[in-house]
C-alpha cells in the first residue's frame, strides 16, 4: 500500500504537462526546437530537390547560350518583377505573423496570416496570366514549341527583324521552355502547398491554438514560405533578366 501511495504522491508532485506537449518530449522548448530542426532538414531537402532543375538550367544554358538569349524575350520582366515584389511582401507578413504569435497578438496573427495567403493568391493569378499567354501563342515545351512571327514580342522583332519562326524552333527554344515550365511550375506547386498551409494556420489561429510557448507551426510554415520566396529570387533573374 505504501508504495502505491508514494507513487501517487510522486505523480502529484510532477508539474502539470501542457496539453500541447506531445508524450515523448520533456518540455515545450524541446518540442519546439525538434520541430524546427526537422523543418530545416526538410528545407535542405527542398534545396537539393530544386538543385536538379538548376543544374539542368546551367547545363543547357552553357551549351545553348543563344537559345536562352532569344527565348528570354518571351518572358515579361514586368510581370516577373511584380511577382517578386508580391512574394517579398508576403515574406514580410510571414515573418510578422511569427512575431505576432510570439507576442500572443491574436488579431495581428490572423491579419498577417491572411495577408500572406492573399499575396500567395496574387502570385498565382499573375502566374496564370503569364502561363495563359505563353500557351496561347505556343511558347511551350519541347517539340510543341511553335510561335508564329506575328506573335513575336515587340522588342524581339526590334532587336532581330530577320528572325523567322522556323529559325527559332530549330534552335531548340522548346528546351528553354521545358526548363522554364518545370522550374516555375514546381515553384508554383510549392506556392499552392503554402496556400494550403496558411489556410490551416488561419483556422488554428482563429481557434486560438497558439500561445507564446506554442507557436512552432507558425514558425515552421514561415520558414517554408521563406524558402519558396528565396527560390523565386533566384528564378526571376535566371529566367527573366538574362538579356
Amino acid at each position: 500500500m505504501s508504495t502505491v501511495a508514494e507513487a501517487e504522491n510522486k505523480h502529484e508532485a510532477l508539474p502539470a504537462r501542457p496539453k500541447e506537449l506531445a508524450m515523448h518530449f520533456d518540455n515545450l522548448n524541446q518540442q519546439f526546437t525538434t520541430g524546427k530542426l526537422g523543418m530545416w532538414l526538410f528545407l535542405g531537402q527542398e534545396l537539393l530537390f530544386f538543385c536538379g532543375l538548376f543544374t539542368a538550367y546551367a547545363v543547357y544554358r552553357a551549351n545553348h547560350q543563344e537559345m536562352f538569349h532569344y527565348a528570354h524575350y518571351f518572358l515579361d520582366w514586368k510581370l516577373g518583377g511584380l511577382n517578386t515584389v508580391v512574394l517579398l511582401c508576403s515574406s514580410l507578413t510571414a515573418a510578422w505573423s511569427v512575431r505576432c504569435a510570439q507576442l500572443e497578438q491574436r488579431k495581428g496573427l490572423i491579419i498577417t496570416l491572411a495577408l500572406t495567403f492573399l499575396a500567395a493568391c496574387a502570385f498565382m493569378v499573375v502566374k496564370y496570366i503569364e502561363y495563359e499567354h505563353k500557351i496561347h501563342i505556343g511558347a511551350v515545351w519541347g517539340s510543341h514549341f511553335g510561335v508564329a512571327e506575328a506573335n513575336f514580342p515587340e522588342h524581339l522583332k526590334e532587336a532581330y527583324p530577320n528572325l523567322t519562326a522556323e529559325q527559332l524552333q530549330q534552335m531548340g527554344t522548346g528546351s528553354f521552355f521545358a526548363i522554364y515550365f518545370c522550374m516555375t511550375g514546381l515553384h508554383g506547386l510549392h506556392v499552392l502547398v503554402g496556400m494550403g498551409l496558411y489556410i490551416w494556420l488561419l483556422i488554428r489561429a482563429i481557434r486560438g491554438d497558439f500561445n507564446r510557448k506554442y507557436y512552432g507551426a507558425v514558425d515552421n510554415v514561415a520558414l517554408y514560405w521563406h524558402i519558396v520566396d528565396i527560390i523565386w529570387i533566384f528564378l526571376f533573374p535566371l529566367l527573366y533578366l538574362i538579356g
Binding site: A22, M23, H24, F25, Q30, T33, T34, G35, L37, G38, L41, F42, G44, Q45, E46, L48, F49, F50, C51, G52, L53, T55, A56, V59, Y60, W141, G142, S143, H144, G172, G174, S175, A178, I179, F181, C182, L186
Partner: protein
C-alpha cells in the same frame, strides 16, 4: 529471480508486465493510426518482407530461365520484365528502406533511451507513402510489367509512347523517395534532440552512427532522384525535351542525375547493414568494440565520399575521359573507410569469447561477403579494367555481394538478433543456424560462378547465351534455389515462433545497448523506468543467469546507477 524473468533489470523486479506495446490497444484500426515507432516498425517489417518475397520471386524466375542457353520458361520480352521488376522491387522497396525503416525505426529511440522518434506523425506518413509506392509497383505488375531495366534510362523508357505502367513506375519511385527522405529527417532530428541526459554521441551504439550517416544521404541525395524521375514523368507524358535526344534533351544528363542519387543510395543500403554488423560482432564476441570512434566516423566518411563517385557508373556512357579518370580515382577512396570498418570488426573478434549464435553466423558471413564485394569493387573502380568488365556478370556478382551478400545477411542477422526484443519470443536456434549457413553457402554458389562467367565475357541482361556459359549459369541457379529455400524456411520458423515460441527474456544475448534494459516485448512507452545510461558495449555490466532468464544487470550497476566499464 523466481521464474527467471526479469522485467526491469534496473530495479530487479522479477515480473513480466502484462501490458506491452503489442497488446496496449487492440484492433486493426489502432494499428493503422498508431504513432508508436515500434508498431510502425513492425508494419514496415511486414511491408518490406512482402517486397523481399516479391523481388525474390522474380530472382528465382530469372535464374530458372537461365538454366539453359535458349528460352526455358520465359520469352525474351518477359525476361526483360522479370529482371526489371526484380531490380526495381529489390532496390526501391526492399534494400533501401529495409533495415532503417524496420529495425532502425524500432531500435533508434530505444537505443537512445527515448520514448519515440522525434516526429511520430511524419513517421506514420512515411509508412503510408511507402505502402502507396508498393501499391503502385503492384499496379505496374498488373499492367503487364516494365522492361526498361530498374535504372529507367531514357530514351528507352520515357521516349516511348505514353504507357500507364511507366507512369506508375515513375510515380512509385518518386513517392518512395519522399518516404525515405522523411525517415531520414526524422532520424537526424531524433538523434540530435531526444538523447536523454548522459547519452552523448559517443555513447550511442554504432548502429545509430550508421543510421545517422544513412539519414544524411537520404536527406541530401534522394530529392535529386525525386526531381529526376519527376521530370522524366513529365517528359514521358508531355515530351518536353530535357532528357530525350529527339526533342533536344540530353540522356547522359539523366544518367548523371540518376547516379548522383543512386550511387549514394548504395550507401543508404549498406551503412545500416554495417551498423547492425557492429552490434552483432561486439555482442557475440562479448568484447567492447575495437576502434569505436574509427567505426563511427568511417560511417560519416563513407556517406561523404559516396557523393563524389557517381561517375564510375558512366565510364562507357560518353562522359569525358578526364571526368572518368577523376571519378575512378575518387572511387578508390571509398575503400579506406570500408577497410577501417572491416579491420575493426576483425580486431573485435580477436581474443573475444565468440558465441556462434545464428546472428553471429550472419555477421561472420557479412565480413567474408563484404570483403569480396568490396575488393572486386576496386577492380571495377580502375577505369582500364572497368571498360572490359562493364555490363558483364562480373558487375552483377560484385554488386550482389554488397547489396545482397552484405545487406541481406545483416538484415537477416538483425532480425534474428532483435526478434526476441520485438516480439517477445525466441525462435528455433538450430533451424536458424542451419538457415544462416544455407544463406552463406547458397549465396556463394550463386555468385562465385558469375564472377568467372563475367570475366569470360558473359554480358548482363541477356536472356540467351552461348553454350560455354551453361555450367556457370546452372551452378548459379542451384545456389539461388538454396538461398530462396533458406529465406522461405526462415519465414516459416519466425512466424511459427510468434505463436509457439518460448518467452524471451529481456536480454537473451547479454548485449549492453539500452533497448535490452526494457522488457521483451517493450512497454508502450519503451521503458517503465529510466534506463541506466551506459556505453553501448559495456558488457561487463551484465551477467548470465540462465537460459530462461538470459542476462541481468549486475547488482552494483543497479545500486550505483553507473557503468562498471573502464573502456572509454
Amino acid at each position: 529471480m523466481a521464474g527467471g524473468i526479469v522485467e526491469k533489470p534496473s530495479s530487479g523486479v522479477p515480473v513480466r508486465p502484462a501490458r506491452n506495446y503489442l497488446n496496449e490497444t487492440k484492433g486493426l484500426k489502432n494499428w493503422l493510426v498508431t504513432l508508436d515507432h515500434k508498431r510502425i516498425a513492425l508494419m514496415y517489417l511486414a511491408a518490406v518482407t512482402v517486397a523481399l518475397l516479391l523481388g525474390g520471386f522474380w530472382a528465382i524466375v530469372l535464374r530458372t530461365e537461365l538454366l539453359g542457353p535458349q528460352d526455358v520458361i520465359l520469352s525474351n520480352d518477359w525476361y526483360n520484365r522479370a529482371f526489371t521488376l526484380h531490380g526495381a522491387v529489390m532496390v526501391f522497396l526492399f534494400i533501401i528502406p529495409g533495415i532503417p525503416a524496420s529495425l532502425g525505426n524500432f531500435m533508434l529511440p530505444m537505443q537512445l533511451g527515448a520514448k519515440d522518434l522525434a516526429l511520430p506523425r511524419v513517421n506514420l506518413l512515411s509508412w503510408y507513402l511507402y505502402v502507396i509506392g508498393l501499391v503502385f509497383f503492384l499496379g505496374v505488375l498488373f499492367l503487364g510489367g516494365l522492361d526498361t531495366g530498374w535504372t529507367l534510362y531514357p530514351p528507352l523508357s520515357s521516349g516511348r509512347p505514353v504507357e500507364l505502367n511507366l507512369i506508375f513506375a515513375y510515380t512509385a519511385v518518386f513517392i518512395l523517395g519522399f518516404s525515405s527522405i522523411l525517415t531520414g529527417v526524422n532520424f537526424i532530428a531524433t538523434m540530435h534532440k531526444l538523447r536523454p541526459k548522459g547519452m552523448t554521441m559517443y555513447k550511442m551504439p554504432l548502429f545509430l552512427w550508421a543510421l545517422y550517416a544513412t539519414s544524411l544521404i537520404q536527406v541530401l541525395a534522394t530529392p535529386v532522384v525525386g526531381i529526376t524521375l519527376g521530370m522524366s514523368l513529365i517528359e514521358h507524358v508531355f515530351k518536353i525535351g530535357i532528357f530525350l535526344p529527339q526533342y533536344g534533351g540530353d540522356p547522359v544528363l539523366y544518367q548523371h542525375f540518376f547516379w548522383f542519387y543512386s550511387h549514394p543510395a548504395v550507401y543508404i543500403m549498406v551503412l545500416p547493414a554495417m551498423g547492425v554488423q557492429s552490434e552483432l560482432i561486439a555482442t557475440f564476441s562479448r568484447k567492447h568494440v575495437f576502434g569505436y570512434k574509427a567505426i563511427a566516423w568511417s560511417s560519416i566518411a563513407i556517406a561523404a565520399i559516396g557523393f563524389i563517385v557517381w561517375g564510375h557508373h558512366m565510364f562507357v556512357s560518353g562522359q569525358s575521359p578526364a571526368a572518368g579518370i577523376i571519378f575512378s580515382f575518387l572511387t578508390f577512396w571509398v575503400a579506406i573507410p570500408s577497410a577501417i570498418k572491416t579491420f575493426n570488426w576483425v580486431a573485435t573478434l580477436y581474443k573475444g569469447a565468440i558465441d556462434f549464435k545464428a546472428p553471429m553466423i550472419y555477421a561472420l558471413a557479412f565480413i567474408y561477403l563484404f570483403g569480396i564485394g568490396g575488393l572486386t569493387g576496386l577492380f571495377l573502380a580502375s577505369i582500364a579494367n572497368n571498360v572490359h568488365l562493364h555490363d558483364t556478370y562480373f558487375v552483377i556478382a560484385h554488386f550482389h555481394m554488397v547489396m545482397v551478400g552484405s545487406v541481406l545477411t545483416a538484415f537477416l542477422g538483425g532480425i534474428h538478433f532483435w526478434w526476441p526484443k520485438m516480439t517477445g519470443k525466441m525462435y528455433n536456434e538450430t533451424l536458424a543456424r542451419i538457415c544462416a549457413v544455407m544463406v552463406f553457402v547458397g549465396f556463394n554458389v550463386t555468385f562465385m560462378p558469375q564472377f568467372v562467367a563475367g570475366t569470360r565475357g558473359m554480358p548482363r541482361r541477356y536472356a540467351n547465351y552461348m553454350d560455354e556459359f551453361t555450367v556457370f549459369h546452372q551452378v548459379s541457379t542451384i545456389g539461388a534455389y538454396i538461398l530462396g529455400l533458406a529465406v522461405v524456411i526462415q519465414a516459416i520458423y519466425l512466424v511459427h515462433s510468434l505463436f509457439k515460441g518460448k518467452q524471451a527474456p529481456p536480454n537473451p544475448w547479454g548485449s549492453a545497448s539500452l533497448e535490452w534494459q526494457s522488457s521483451s516485448p517493450p512497454d508502450f512507452h519503451n521503458f517503465l523506468d529510466k534506463p541506466i545510461v551506459m556505453g553501448a558495449y559495456d558488457f561487463e555490466n551484465w551477467e548470465f543467469v540462465s537460459e530462461d532468464a538470459g542476462y541481468v544487470l549486475k547488482k552494483e550497476v543497479i545500486e550505483t546507477g553507473k557503468s562498471l566499464s573502464t573502456v572509454h
